[in-house]
């Protein structure tokens, strides 16, 4: 079983991409859970969301305390929260930042695998402005999901709500993030 913890701020869509990640893995034949931290949802307030992914049925219904992957959608949270708390020593920390992986290691004290990508820039270059989608791409790539499946799930989930143009831009952002997460292998 793999456990993933997302750190974001209210309104950034961490919960949404955690749900899309669940759908992607369902498509790949896995059992999944996705749940937000159960607190008041306020725009800009720190929020967490979680995933569990397993080959077999997931029976556990408690919180996630020792994730294999921690994802930081908003860099400012590195200063206010211990985003590496409980993260398995051989786990992966994926951060939206301009800094290098080494900088992140020294800022968080986490010495395992770090993926540093500038998801804000990827999103801005693509014209969407939302870093959650490139972060989803990076996480899905690190988990070994197939890009086509990832793209298709994003299309199916967001297609109904976005114009064709904005959806296309999101797919560009998604691919950018996926590229950054490729080559990382998250152990179970």
């Amino acid at each position: 079983m793999k456990e993933i913890r997302w750190h974001g701020r209210g309104g950034q869509g961490a919960k949404t991409v955690s749900q899309i990640l669940a759908q992607i893995n369902l498509r790949e034949g896995k059992h999944v859970q996705s749940f937000p931290e159960y607190g008041p949802e306020r725009s800009g307030a720190p929020v967490r969301a979680f995933n569990r992914i397993d080959d077999g049925e997931i029976k556990i219904h408690s919180g996630v305390y020792e994730p294999h992957v921690a994802v930081v959608v908003d860099e400012s949270l590195l200063d206010t929260e211990n985003t590496a708390e409980g993260l398995k020593p051989d786990g992966t920390l994926i951060v939206n930042t301009k800094c290098s992986a080494d900088d992140i290691r020294s800022r968080t004290g986490f010495s395992g695998t770090v993926v540093a990508l500038d998801a804000n820039k990827i999103a801005d270059d693509a014209g969407t402005g939302f870093p959650n989608i490139p972060m989803l791409g990076a996480v899905a790539a690190a988990l070994g999901s197939d890009l086509e499946v990832v793209e298709d799930e994003v299309q199916q989930t967001m297609g109904g709500k976005l114009s064709k143009d904005i959806l296309e831009k999101n797919l560009v952002a998604l691919r950018g993030g996926y590229e950054a997460g490729k080559g990382v292998h998250v152990g179970s």
Binding site: A22, L26, V32, F35, E57, I60, H61, S62, G63
Partner: protein, 387 residues
């Protein structure tokens, strides 16, 4: 087809397939997304249900009572304080033998104000006369919503039914659910045939009568006959559900690694899933532990539960609410089940998870381990409490 959805959505999907004539809900906090999804179905024309948004849960249950007495198939949903406000009318619904089916997203009752899961709301309604079923997962909440409909409407039963699903843990968490296709679901639920509907003006009948000391007692006794018909009907409907769907729901509870177990947890709701993981871990280490997960809570299957636990040495009964000044409600039921039996396990009452306090696998393996040397006594024990 397997899908991912929240517990709320799973229940709403079951309701869409049941397509009751009337859904009456209070549409504001602490209402759940169930009502939101259902309103969407109504407004998108997916169902022909009359959706009645009212000004309080008291009115919601009152509208349900009126519609059900009129002859409609009726459903509703609520949580915590909402149920508290409904309870007055829930007693009346049960006494009028109205098969209103409702989802209860279990959340703590105030105070202090808390929006998270525990079972204090379900326990508050314990003696109202409604059937109560507890689900472990969103899948079970879906399946049992369909089953509850058949059970509540059975001619020998005719009682309101509550399907409990843990607030947030099941209601807001996206999980894998395999809903039935519409056709087999609708076929299983079947159409509703009201008896003595109020709107049958050619055959007038009395509903909600005034009953003084000369009849009140007999009417309550007649209500006992209804709830006593539940266990047999429950098993029948489970069997039919299995026949229709291939899904194996058998019995009033799920026995997990129970057969040769020496130490056992008894629990209701989503924590039963976490308990299975705890049992698996200890079994892998060679310990004879098991779980009894209660599905049918009211009426309580005393004899069957006692039978299933009679060989066990120690039983930890987990209550997710305090009955102040008394043992936990579930513990009291288990203790009652053994009242007339010579062979009985040592019973221990644990309170856990109040107001959404997380209960982990470690908590439960620890509970099972400490049972070995625990001295029996009536004191309440607590899981995951800071003292």
């Amino acid at each position: 087809m397997r899908k991912v959805m929240t517990g709320h959505k799973a229940v709403a999907e079951a309701m869409r397939q049941i397509e009751p004539n009337v859904v009456a809900v209070y549409p504001i906090t602490p209402q759940s997304e169930i009502a939101e999804y259902y309103a969407e179905y109504v407004h998108n024309g997916l169902v022909s249900t009359e959706l009645v948004p009212v000004e309080s849960e008291h009115s919601a249950m009152s509208a349900c009572v009126g519609a059900s007495a009129a002859g409609a198939r009726v459903m509703t949903a609520t949580a915590s304080q909402g149920l508290a406000l409904m309870v007055e009318i829930l007693y009346i619904a049960a006494s009028m033998r109205l098969p209103i089916v409702m989802a209860l997203a279990n959340r703590a009752l105030s105070g202090p104000i808390n929006i998270h899961c525990d079972h204090s709301d379900a326990y508050l309604a314990r003696d109202a006369g409604a059937i109560q079923i507890f689900a472990e997962s969103a899948q079970e909440a879906y399946d049992y919503t369909l089953i509850a409909q058949r059970l509540a409407e059975h001619n020998q039963v005719r009682l309101p039914a509550i399907v409990n699903l843990d607030g947030f843990t099941l209601t807001h968490s996206v999980q894998v659910v395999e809903p039935l296709d519409d056709e087999p679901a609708k076929k299983f639920v079947g159409s509703y045939k009201p008896i003595y509907p109020l709107l049958d003006v050619d055959n007038p009948s009395t509903w909600g009568p005034f009953a003084m000391p000369d009849y009140y007692f007999e009417l309550k006794r007649a209500q006992v006959a209804g709830i006593e018909a539940v266990p047999e009907t429950f098993l029948e409907v489970q069997k039919e559900y299995e026949k229709a769907t291939g899904r194996n729901y058998r019995g009033f509870f799920e026995a997990y690694q129970l057969e040769d177990a020496e130490r056992v947890l008894v629990v209701m709701g989503s924590t039963a899933g976490t308990a299975k993981v705890a049992v698996d871990e200890l079994r892998a280490a060679g310990e004879k532990v098991g779980l009894l997960k209660v599905w049918l809570y009211r009426p309580f299957p005393y004899a069957e539960v006692a039978e299933a636990l009679s060989h066990v040495k120690q039983v930890a009964v987990l209550d997710r609410a305090i009955s102040f000044g008394a043992q936990g409600a579930l513990y009291s039921d288990i203790a009652t089940a053994f009242a007339h039996r010579d062979r009985r396990p040592a019973l221990f009452n644990y309170i856990y998870g109040l107001g959404g306090r997380d209960t982990t696998t470690e908590h439960l393996t620890q509970t099972l381990s400490e049972l070995k040397s625990a001295r029996p006594g009536e004191e309440l024990r607590y899981i995951g409490l800071r003292e």
